[in-house]
Symmetry: D2
């Protein structure tokens, strides 16, 4: 089976707004390179600081997904491996919005109250592609600062199980809107396949995001995206993840999502205990003990319908233990071989 290099830029009517429930836009073979375009979380409706969220946004059209892609041969229990080859800002600016009753330091529909909402504001961050920075400018003063750009995808996921269809605003066991800065170029995401064809999609590009995504929005921006999509069949995948996993050159990571936040943490930890146990031949209590001393735990978001938390382990601390036969290194090598991607 020949691997493909597919380029796909969705038409405005081709976005999906759910995981599950949307017709696939393309069928792709495992091992294919996909060069994609992803619209920003606002569906392109915010273009200036005057575009305040409550007036500009369509609540039914947030986090537009590029996809879903039907992965040939994918069946429930398999593992989808998506290597992020390149994420490049597709516009010269990104935008972050303070949205009424959305974010981490305000009441929300999930954590309701009677206080008045915070004021709305929209911040435009100019993206300097030469210096690779995004520029923050205060609205109540002259303060400005150029911050390093660090492009990432807020949303990567597959269709859920149990006949469910979930909005692209939700992070859960199927991936989705996890909003972690670790979802950057160079990482490989592992997702359990829940339905035939997997129905993989991505979106919600961020030019930069802090851990926790405090106000609810990052420096949101359209992205040019190149990924390699591969498939680990069930035969090999007795270790199919219950929660999304990430691997880069230095770390293995698990991402739990839930509420309250300790639920997200526990999910990521139990997933990592099992993973360490398997990789290094430890029993669960030994793996628990070891993890207690080496865990890195950055939050991803404390603002979405579910919160997300990472557990990271630095591979360099431990004996070498290839994950899924070393697929990350293989994909990274293939990515390098692609050279510079032009969009």
């Amino acid at each position: 089976m020949t691997e493909q290099h597919i380029t796909f830029r969705p038409r405005p009517d081709q976005f999906a707004f759910t995981f599950g429930g949307a017709e696939p836009v393309l069928r792709v073979r495992p091992g294919s390179v996909l060069t994609l375009w992803s619209e920003d979380a606002y569906c392109g409706r915010i273009g200036s600081a005057q575009d305040l969220a409550s007036a500009a946004l369509n609540p039914g059209e947030l986090n537009p997904q590029t996809g879903p892609f039907w992965i040939e041969g994918a069946e429930p229990g398999d593992v989808l491996a998506v290597h992020l080859v390149d994420l490049t800002p597709a516009r010269s600016w990104g935008a972050s919005a303070l949205i009424p009753f959305f974010g981490g330091l305000t009441s929300t529909p999930q954590d309701a109250g009677l206080q008045a909402p915070l004021d709305e504001r929209t911040y435009i961050y100019e993206y300097d592609s030469t210096r690779h920075t995004v520029q923050f400018s205060a609205q109540a003063g002259d303060f400005t600062v150029a911050l390093p750009a660090d492009p990432m995808l807020g949303t990567v996921g597959v269709a859920p199980a149990q006949r469910e269809v979930r909005t692209s605003l939700v992070p859960d066991y199927f991936g989705g809107n996890m909003d972690t800065p670790e979802m950057r170029a160079g990482s490989t995401v592992y997702l359990r396949v829940n339905v035939e064809g997997a129905l993989f999609s991505l979106g919600d590009g961020h030019y930069r995001q802090g851990e926790g995504e405090s106000c609810g929005t990052a420096v949101e921006g359209a992205l040019n995206v190149t990924v390699i999509v591969d498939l680990i069949k069930g035969g090999e995948a007795a270790d199919a993840p219950a929660w999304p996993r990430l691997e880069n050159d230095t770390h293995v990571m698990t991402i739990g999502s839930g509420r309250p936040l300790e639920g997200a943490w526990k999910a990521s930890q139990v997933e990592m205990v099992g993973w360490l146990s398997r990789l290094h031949g430890l029993d669960l209590l030994d793996a628990y003990q070891l993890l207690s001393q080496i865990s890195e735990v950055p939050l991803a978001n404390v603002v979405d319908t579910n919160f997300s938390c990472l557990t990271k382990v630095d591979k360099r601390l431990l004996p070498s233990a290839p994950v899924f036969d070393g697929i990350h290194a293989d994909l990274a090598r293939r990515a390098a071989a692609l050279g510079t991607i032009s969009y």
Copy 2:
């Protein structure tokens, strides 16, 4: 007023087990250097893998505190600044214990259930002072690995307000058992003074700890500790912290504690929003927006009576803005001038 260099090693009957409520062991002048010895969290009752927690430990004598120290002139509203000069393992081994109904991946008295407890185990980690490592050995197999030592204090605190006395197992606004790896040599801790004399103490040394302290215990060990204690008087301290703050050469940090975990996160975030606002002349919404893009959020512990979470900001991303007139740099300079500490 001459600064002092005081050496204090508590007798077994001199430990405190509370924040507040204990008589001061010494009165010290602001600016003093303290060279101290801290016993491990087990009060020295665990010495081998055969010492299982439920038999070996005295629940009323955990996290013994070295102190409290009465800081001359400290009054409510002042800020205590404690610079951690040096933390050196005082024994050739540390110990981590799996304790029934304690830890992050089990039911606990605060999160009760009907399941049987996990098995008890005690792990002894040999400390290699030359390579500066601690050695993990699995109990159910041959796996071993040497991990870099990274000594830290689990517990640093002052007496609480409102006449309260809290056990040294609790982290809260007065500091206490925050259990963050950031409490390492080179850091300056800022704590609001709640009672006259501040009544500062420290303990619960860890030779190494993962973020979250998953199983409830780090590589616990006795430490030789050198700190400089200083005082920022109320006049200068209109910005007295509501929650503990940390500063090192690269970051400013706030530590929130509470339950559920999002409460700890929110506390650390609101504290940092206020701090950024003050340091950089931003209004609260601008500070909230900026923090959303630059926050680093590692968990501290998800196992204590309150959970603890950090919000970190990399000072190098922002314009220079000295904290409390640059006291951290001053203290770091004084620490360097002390040369190598011998115990």
Copy 3:
């Protein structure tokens, strides 16, 4: 438009397992009486104490729904009013199961840990239709007790908004698996319509349930169900509920769902503050104050994917204030006029 009395007993292949996403089984006119049969939560797979959950159940076929019914003329923003006329046990026994990693006093996938699961057990409760009791018999001793039967529906709901499809195990703003004993005959449920046709369904009959549904299962049993379904059009429904509401002869109630449990409580409270405000012409703070002194707050479940909590107000404490033009009294009158229902 003539009102209908429709009788519908689903074939085994006609059950739905989701809110949203399933084809309607019937189209019914507002005002219609529906006489239905609902299978138990286990899809009939548990018939004796030897049928343990992990072997007997199909995780993809739980909480089978009778429906969905397309309500003629229902549009988003309308309010569906469902009056529960009669709930009669359809079998001579119900069953409650202790299911591994499910329930309130064990770790669960949403609140994960490393402890071993509780033992599985299945309890058969004989239903005595003359005395109207269900019989509990201990498995580890001779203790037996006959408890009053109090039939209720665990699950009543409509299709969610935002293109979502949710399993019938979830309670949320669209109703669903709320698991409250208040969902008994004599109550009227109000649900906001989210999609054209509303797509209303019900199931998960309980012959009796404690508040909280501690172990995760009630005395689950097939039910004969008679309801009247009515529609309040948007014109009248400027007060369309954000969360499910209930009314019976003595109380008005709101049901919030979420995690942590305080989120469910807050949702029910804010909904009731708004409702009291509207019914009695109070501003929000006056309604908040009044509610603080008259609220009754029984938990519904602390075991489902979302937890559910009620806020109840005794109508007899307050001046008369008809809800939706007194539709509950009208429906109760119509129900009485139906006389004894025979199945």
Copy 4:
């Protein structure tokens, strides 16, 4: 040992504001009748609707406690039984205050945010001792309603263990500020003794309170209080409660406190599972199953530093099983024999 009838009305300088840490005001023998006066939660600082909380209150003097009383012979592990004989409003009005950043439907220091506080308001409720009602009057309109008075104590507790001293605002395993309407005349409270002498106190009278105490304050008012205090010695008390228990003529109840709210619920449930198991000779899983079908679960408060939740079981559903040798019935008989209490 002769039983005493002691009358005690604290002088303004005699109130305690903590559990633990305060000197006993009296030593009393087990079996004594205490006729007491308790000041309101505001320490009497609110007397009219013009007294807004932020100006009127002293944050260090809230929930003044009448006591503590040293109970002769009480030792750790014993059980203190306090029978509430009579609670009579001591003033002709009570007051409820909306306090900035306090209450269930606003951000708080424990659940921080950036929104502006709700407006402050103070409501005076006239108490009509003839009709036994308290009168609510809206501030933004003419709405008034007379609500039945239902006097209760917000705060009943003993000194905590582990050398701790806690403010009288906190509910926990030692009782304290549980804020449940079930703490009314006719109830017997069981509290584990943690320190010699028990150091029992009470306060925070409410003329009426809704479940949850939504806005954070009930109809707060000074009370005349008569209780009988008795002691169950450790020998008899192998079943010493881990959490406060209540008994009245119809129900046994347990009160859990913690955060998040499900932690409070779990504590109350596990306590009741153990209690049912012991009373009726059930194993824990049988007790769990039975409780699942008979639990009543009203919330107590969702506003204090810890939240509180009750688990109630209707004794009339189960075979007779006297608690602590029927001490509640004995105390109720003694209370009846006291006749009408005059203050």
